[in-house]
Assembly symmetry: C2
């Protein structure tokens, strides 16, 4: 049964691995990098997680969890709905433009880097994307009931529209220097709702 106990906490190791994959990307993040960032030796890493791919998957799921929490924290705030949607966009603009290494969004990075090669990753990212879609759809319905959001279009369509702008912003912010160019998108997107 129980032998020598683990000297690490699985979750904090996954958190560290997530950071490493986030900064370096899947391919460019070596197992050596992962050992350094997690503090584990190769033996422990492979014993606990089996492979680099598997650790990446767990790191990605962890990112989804944290990202969803962060998004919901903003969307569930009190106050006008458009203010919350604006806050969501402005939050990622702030994060992206202030990040010196421009890690961007790990979900998008995973979709681009691994989506075409690992169907399991593609499915996981699609699921994460649709969880944001669902949350946004719910918010849009609330706004339509209160009259804050136009009822000309189905809430789901508005949610998909907003989500697309949202992810588009995160791509642009990978290379964009001009914050105004991103804020223009925020204004126009919100005024379309």
């Amino acid at each position: 049964m129980s032998g020598r106990p683990r000297e690490f906490n699985d979750l904090s190791v996954i958190n560290s691995a997530m950071e490493a994959f986030w900064v370096k990307g899947f391919e460019e993040c070596s197992t050596e990098d992962l050992c350094k960032s997690t503090g584990l030796g190769r033996g422990s890493l492979y014993n606990a997680f089996g492979s680099k791919q598997n650790l990446y998957k767990q790191a990605l799921l962890r990112y989804f969890e944290l990202g969803h929490q962060a998004n919901m924290e903003i969307l569930d705030r009190p106050g006008p709905i458009k203010d919350r949607l604006r806050a969501l966009m402005e939050a990622v603009i702030d994060i992206d433009l202030n990040d010196p290494v421009r890690r961007g969004c790990l979900a998008i990075n995973a979709a681009i880097e691994r989506g075409g090669k690992d169907p399991e990753i593609a499915r996981a990212v699609a699921h994460h994307f649709s969880s944001l879609e669902q949350a946004l759809c719910h918010i849009m319905e609330l706004g339509q009931r209160s009259g804050e959001i136009s009822s000309n279009r189905p809430a789901m369509q508005l949610a998909r529209f907003f989500r697309c702008s949202f992810y588009g912003l995160r791509v642009l912010s990978k290379v964009e220097q001009d914050r105004g160019a991103l804020m223009d998108v925020v204004e126009t997107t919100l005024s379309a709702l």
Copy 2:
């Protein structure tokens, strides 16, 4: 002066390399892969292009050239401006969803994979992004003059808004199965102009 002549055409080699980088990504595309896809030996490749990085840069510039041409071909068509903008979005949706390996947009792939690591790549992609911005701004101005596009907002702001949706679509189409979810974005984006 002149010695043995080259047995290949530089441009078609760059085209082949572009395809290889597009499918595999920078990291995962080995020099062996590049030799296979271009038909050149290692000696010739390195003699002509110096390094994998440099070949990638040239392939990327070539993609920008082709992509810009393809976009302008659609935007310069006769007919209503919103029809042209719709055609632009629908074209990439068709391409992306019909591609079994989901290569997506090489400019976005480069921004995500290399943007944070190679400032030269980041600058090149930003320049490419802004060339689309400029073309869209011009189209928006035309539409505003003819009354096809709302004049409530500056043409540049509308161009940036459209461009963000456009690139957002290409990210979503990396993992999206539901074409309707993407078409919803097209409809909502166009109706906001």
